[in-house]
Amino acid sequence: MTAPPPLAMTGGLVRRDGREVLAGVDLRVAAGDVLAVLGPNGAGKSTLVKALLGLVPLAAGRAEIYGEPPARFRDWKRIGYVPQRLPMGGGVPATVREVVASGRVARRSRWRPAPFADRAADRAAVDRALKAVGLTASARDSAHLLSGGQQQRVLIARALAGEPDVFVLDEPTAGVDAGSQAALASTLHELARDGRTVVLVAHELGPMEPLITRTVELGHGRIVREDAVREPLGRPA
């Protein structure tokens, strides 16, 4: 028996206000894939990745994470989700390091209290994540005062800190400066080389284009085009 794929969807249907945002999508993301989800605004790209993770409920069809429906899936430390933007500003300030460190939460056993956590491992992982996105020097700055691109890097570092096998990134390049795009591309390159699975929602691929192994194009909630571009770079983790 082969291992179940990291992410899969059969006949995925999502309705919002009576409209079908996702109109029956079949998708299988294999281990080691670097999949780009493309398409115009409103095509359902974000909804698709959220539905894959169970963050948006399906009206019909099913989603599976490593063979389990999201509601029954327990091994969330294997998943790293990077949302579209930092919902910050106002609220309470948080340093870059605090935000990144919160990515370790899924690594902790649910009922193991904070005082008994493995601090050394946490610290090392957070240091690595900050270094990977080039934000080591800003670790103590308030995250909400950074530029849009740097905030996006903070969110990516938060996912990196959890050391997951699967990365799901929702529009990581939207409104991001060239420097941050390059930092993102080099981070993705390392992930791909390590055989991690990456699902990436994007408008345009830019410097990430050479890393993509598969593309899926959405239009009006359906997959209108699927391409296998190149062989995966690393051995699947």
Partner: protein, 299 residues
Amino acid sequence: MSEMLHYDFMRIALVMAVLIGLTAPAVGTFIVQRRLSLLGDGIGHIALTGIGLGLLTSTSPVLGALVVSVLGAVAIEVLRARSRSGADVALALLFYGGLAGGVILTNANGGGSASLQSYLFGSISSVTVADLYVVAGLAAAVLAIIALFGRELFLLCQDEEVARAAGLPVRFLSVLIAATAAVTVVISMRAIGLLLVSALMIVPVAAAQQLTRGFWSTMLAAMGVGVLSAVSGLAGSFQYDLPPGPSIVLLALAVFVLAVGGGSVVRRRRARAVAAGDAVRAGQGAETRVDGEAEVLRG
């Protein structure tokens, strides 16, 4: 100052003020982060019905307030999870119902406006050692919850979807934070009064974040502001025969105004330091730390 320590009730009230000053801003930090600054107000309104029920059934008003406000907080979370738009009006209905019901029930009990006034704006002359034990127990529970679940609650308040994708029990944690806020309202109501209770959750946090950059350092600074304003507000109210709640809240607001002034100075200085640091980094290609703020890192 030393004169007021001759009175038993003042000694008890001062210990209570320290406990309230610590817990209310600690919970408030999460509440502000979740953008629910008015949650405490709503729970305060609902708690009044609990007090009325407690008086009417001649059990304990504190117990009544605790039960009803925790139930109310859970109801608020359920409504919020159901729908964003409908929740707004539903919450308002819950708040008004709680306040109106509380006033009617307190009156029905023959409590009259004097006892109502003491619950709405605080009164400390009647506190007993038994009250103090209850408050201390509840405060310990609130601080323990923050110590145990702080990191999970932090992620939840940052981004609910990411919290869910990290496998956190989002619904449980949301209810936990609302229930903790409800317990804090009950802790603080004796000294500050239900109408102003949430000010001590919010104002110290608003003051602290003028000067801090991190979440945990904001929480610690807010707790400092909370203790400072609760203790000195209480002392001032004893000295000048003022109601304690409004005195505490006005002091906290004064700290906020000072912090806004201080914050703009600190930010200007920091911007200069960062610019200088960038110049150094650019010149040497080395990483330099430019800030001297103690970082509060939690495990």
